[in-house]
Amino acid sequence: MRKRFGEIEAVRGVNFEIAPGESYGLLGPNGAGKTTTISIVAGLLEADAGEALVEGKLLTTKSVAAKSAIGFVPQDLAIYPDLTARENLSFFARLYGISGKQNRSRVGEVLKIIGLEERAGDQAKTYSGGMKRRLNIGIGLLHSPSLLILDEPTVGVDPQSRNAILESVEQLGEQGMAVLYTTHYMEEAERLCDRVGIIDRGELKAEGTRAELVALLGEYDKVHLTGSGALEAAAVACARIGAVHAASSGDGSLELLVEGASAVLPEILTTAGGAGVSVHGVEVEEPNLEAVFLHLTGRALRD
C-alpha cells in the first residue's frame, strides 16, 4: 500500500498478511505510518496504490458489507460523551445490524468484558480516562469481528488500566479473533503479538516472529548505557568503533548494538567518557525488538 498526504508520503510500500486468529503487531515510532496503514485496512482512507483484502474481499472506503468483518478501535477516543456507555454500545451495535433482544444481550456481554457494568448508565463524560479507553475498545468488540484493529490502545493510560487492556486483548486473541495491533511499545508487541512488522517512515523494514526478528541481529549484543552529559556526541563517537554496529542516544541513555560486547565494553566506556559523558551504569541486554529496530533503522524506537 501507498498513501501520500500532499508532500508527505506517509505509507510507501507496506505489505503484510494476517492469518485467521493471529495477532499481528505494527511496531514503529511516532509518525511511522501506523495509523495511516490501518486506516486504509479499516476502509477509512483510500490508498493511492495497493489494496486491502479482508476475508478475501476487497476493502475500500466504499465496501459497506466487507466492513462488518472488522472491529475498529481508533487511536483517539471515539465515543459520544453525552451518551451513557450502554447507549454508546447499543448505537454502534445497531449500525452493525445487531438489534432488538440480541442488542441488549450483546451490549451486556461487552459491558462485562470491559468491566463497566456498574457505570453503564452514566454519561461517558463522567468516566475516568481508563474507563473511557475501555469503552472505546468495547465498541470495537460488539459484533465479534474476525479482525480486530487496535490503534495504540494503551497510550495515555495508567499502568493498571493498561494491564487490563492488554489482558483482554490477549484473551480475544486466544478466542480466535485476528488482531492487528499498533504500538510503539516494544513490550506490548512482544507480549501480545504472534508476529510483528517493524515500520518506520512509511516502510515495513522487517516482519516475523520475535525469534525471527531477533535472529536478524546475528551476533550483535545490545548494550544499554545510562549516564549524563554529551550523550549525542558520545553516540557519534562510539559508532566509529569497529565492533559497534549502531549507536543512538536517548533520554539519559545510550543504546548500542555491539559485536562481542564483553571485549569491546572497556573501549566503549573510554570513548563515552572522552566525549564528555559520566557513565552511571552499563548493561548488556538480551537482544529484543528495540535492538532489532535500532539495527534496522540506526535509530532508537523511542527517541
Partner: protein
C-alpha cells in the same frame, strides 16, 4: 435508509439530553416572541390618536425598530427635528409628547454601553407623556431582550457582534414613520412569532449537518466510517436530524404562539407549505456554509454570522422590507423575508395561490444552496 434513521435517533437523543436544541428551537424564540408581543400590545386602543415627536440622535437602525415598537399603539409617530424644536412643539401643544433617541442606541443591542431614552412631556398633558413613556419602555425591553438573546445564543458572540456592528454602521436608509404599505401587515404578535421562529430556525437546523464536525472532533466520525454503512446514509441521517429539528421547532412555535399569544398564522395548509419550504432552505443554506468552513470553530462562527445577518436583513428584528431602498432589495435575497412575506400575503386572505411565489423562491434557495453543499460535502465525511 434504516441506518440514516439510527443516526438521526442517536442525534436527537443527544440533543434532548443537552437541551441546547430545545433552548434554541423552542424556548428562546417563544420567550422573545412573547416578550415582544406583550410589550407591543400593552396599549388599550383609545379613541384619541396621540401625536408623538421623535428626535433621533442615533445613526443606526434603532429608529426603525422604534417606530415598530409603537405599532398597535394609538399614536402618530413623526420626526420632530432637533431636541429643541421638539421641546417647543410639545410646549405649544402641537405634539402630545416627544421621545429623544440618544446616540449609540443601535449599538446597545450589540453589546454597546447603556444609554438613556428621554421623554419630553408637558405637565398639562400627562396622558400624552405617559403614552410616550410606555412606548419608550416597551422599546427598551425589546432592545434588552435582543441584547440578552444575542449574547446567550452562541459562544461565538464576538463574531456575531462584530458583524451586527457592521450592519449598524452601514446606516441603512430607514426613515422614521415610513411604515406605510399597501399590503395588510401581520399584526405585531404574529409578525414577531413568525420572525423569531424563522430566525431561530437557522440555529436549530445547525444541530444536524454541522454536527458532522462535532463527530469528527470527537473521533466518532471515524467509527461511523469504519462501520458497514454508506457515507450517503451518514449524510442522510444528518439531514434528517436537521429536518426533524427544524419542522418540530416551527410547528411547536406556530401552535404555541397561536394558543398562548393569540398569533394568527393563517391558513394551516399554506402555513405548513411555507414552513416546509423555509426549513429546507435553512438546511441548505447552513449546510453550504458548513462545507465552506475548515474547522468546527470556524463553522460555528460563520454560521452565526450568516444566520444573524440574514435574520437582520430578512426582517427578523425590524420589518426592513417596508423600509424601501437598498435594504429592502437586499432583504429580498433572504429566506426570512420570503417566509415572512408569504405569511403576510396569506394573512391578507389571498388564498393559497399567494404562497406559490414565496414557496418557489424558498425552494429555489434550497435547491441552489443544497446543490452547492452537495458538491462540497464529501470533505465533511472524511476522517
Amino acid at each position: 435508509m434504516r441506518t440514516a434513521f439510527l443516526i438521526t435517533a442517536k442525534d436527537l437523543r443527544q440533543r434532548l439530553r443537552d437541551r441546547s436544541a430545545f433552548l434554541v428551537a423552542v424556548i428562546a424564540p417563544l420567550a422573545l416572541a412573547a416578550a415582544l408581543s406583550v410589550t407591543i400590545s400593552g396599549f388599550s386602543a383609545g379613541s384619541k390618536t396621540y401625536q408623538i415627536g421623535l428626535v433621533s440622535l442615533d445613526q443606526g437602525p434603532a429608529a426603525s425598530g422604534f417606530s415598530n415598537a409603537a405599532r398597535g399603539a394609538p399614536v402618530d409617530l413623526r420626526p420632530a427635528g432637533t431636541e429643541a424644536a421638539a421641546r417647543g412643539q410639545v410646549k405649544s401643544g402641537k405634539l402630545d409628547a416627544a421621545i429623544v433617541l440618544p446616540r449609540g442606541l443601535s449599538a446597545v443591542s450589540m453589546g454597546g454601553p447603556p444609554v438613556r431614552i428621554d421623554v419630553i412631556g408637558d405637565t398639562r398633558n400627562s396622558i400624552g407623556a405617559l403614552v410616550a413613556r410606555s412606548i419608550a419602555d416597551s422599546y427598551a425591553t425589546y432592545v434588552r431582550t435582543i441584547a440578552v438573546a444575542s449574547r446567550a445564543l452562541h459562544a461565538n458572540g464576538a463574531a456575531t457582534v462584530r458583524i451586527a456592528g457592521d450592519v449598524a454602521s452601514a446606516k441603512p436608509p430607514i426613515a422614521v414613520g415610513d411604515t406605510s404599505t399597501t399590503r395588510k401587515n401581520l399584526d405585531p404578535k404574529t409578525y414577531y412569532a413568525a420572525a423569531m421562529a424563522v430566525f431561530f430556525l437557522f440555529f436549530a437546523v445547525q444541530f444536524g449537518i454541522s454536527s458532522l464536525l462535532d463527530e469528527r472532533r470527537d473521533g466518532t466520525l471515524a467509527r461511523l466510517l469504519a462501520a458497514p454503512i454508506s457515507r450517503r446514509s451518514i449524510l442522510g441521517g444528518k439531514v434528517l436530524t436537521s429536518l426533524a429539528l427544524g419542522l418540530t421547532s416551527m410547528t411547536v412555535l406556530a401552535i404555541t404562539t397561536r394558543l398562548a399569544l393569540g398569533a394568527h398564522w393563517g391558513n394551516p395548509i399554506g402555513v405548513a407549505v411555507l414552513i416546509v419550504c423555509a426549513v429546507l432552505a435553512a438546511i441548505a443554506v447552513t449546510a453550504f456554509v458548513t462545507t465552506l468552513a475548515k474547522t468546527h470553530e470556524q463553522a460555528n462562527a460563520w454560521l452565526s454570522i450568516v444566520s444573524v445577518v440574514l435574520g437582520m436583513l430578512g426582517g427578523s428584528f425590524f420589518p426592513v422590507a417596508q423600509a424601501g431602498g437598498l435594504l429592502a432589495t437586499l432583504s429580498k435575497g433572504t429566506p426570512h423575508a420570503w417566509f415572512l412575506s408569504g405569511l403576510q400575503d396569506l394573512s391578507s386572505g389571498g388564498g393559497l395561490s399567494v404562497i406559490v411565489e414565496p414557496s418557489l423562491v424558498l425552494l429555489g434557495i434550497a435547491v441552489v444552496c443544497g446543490a452547492a453543499a452537495l458538491v462540497r460535502v464529501r470533505k465533511l465525511i472524511e476522517p
